[in-house]
Assembly symmetry: C2
Homo-oligomer: 147 residues x 2
Amino acid sequence: MIHVVATGTFDILHPGHLYYLEESRKLGDELSVIVARDANVKHKPRPILPEDQRLQMVQALKPVDHAFLGDLHDMFRPIAEIGPDIITLGFNQHFDEENLRQRLRSRGLNADVARIAGYPGPLASSSKIVEHILKTRGPTPPVGEKE
Amino acid sequence: MIHVVATGTFDILHPGHLYYLEESRKLGDELSVIVARDANVKHKPRPILPEDQRLQMVQALKPVDHAFLGDLHDMFRPIAEIGPDIITLGFNQHFDEENLRQRLRSRGLNADVARIAGYPGPLASSSKIVEHILKTRGPTPPVGEKE
């Protein structure tokens, strides 16, 4: 049985997330998802939705067998506990595959790393959804822009 | 077999939606969901996400067996096609149960109507999520308000 692990923030679920999880699930027989802790999201604005809510929504998606919150201090700890055969990266996750493979090896983890392509649809990113909300619902649209 | 129908806009999925669908599913053996058409959402701001994207995300949730877009002109047409035993209303859907029951009867539909209670968690409404985004990510927070 091939166990796949996917990871991410999963703020405001959209078809891009779903596509990433469906494609990850297709690589094996069981999909576990590690959801980023609020405190660990530092490379982009803090998530809109709190971590327990993001976890709950990921857990409710059909391709997902199990979902867990990440570790606050050691990103490899939950991976070691799950012991996956494959770890998938989303198209916008800034890890170098080979570097991640080596870091996994140095922790005694033999998982392979696979990159999932981006979903081509519109509004398939939480930041694009936030931009769209600010543009269409904000109190002061930029000068020259019509609703 | 008891067939349940739930309806809604399902813009920016959150635990409030999930709770409504899970509770609806518990009333029967099969859950079909009718997702509101963009053009028919008139009692609140237009949805952030387009109808096909909202449909796709609802369809991906574990409690949902089938999901369809609503009819542009006749809200009872898809209900007549599905022929449910129970139609559920969310806590914030502005239909009077008895009035809806009577309108169903007048169309020859014998479905019962059940009201699902609201989910008590935070940010469990698309409009609250939008407000939160405008407040925390908008360019000009209201005077006197701190981030």
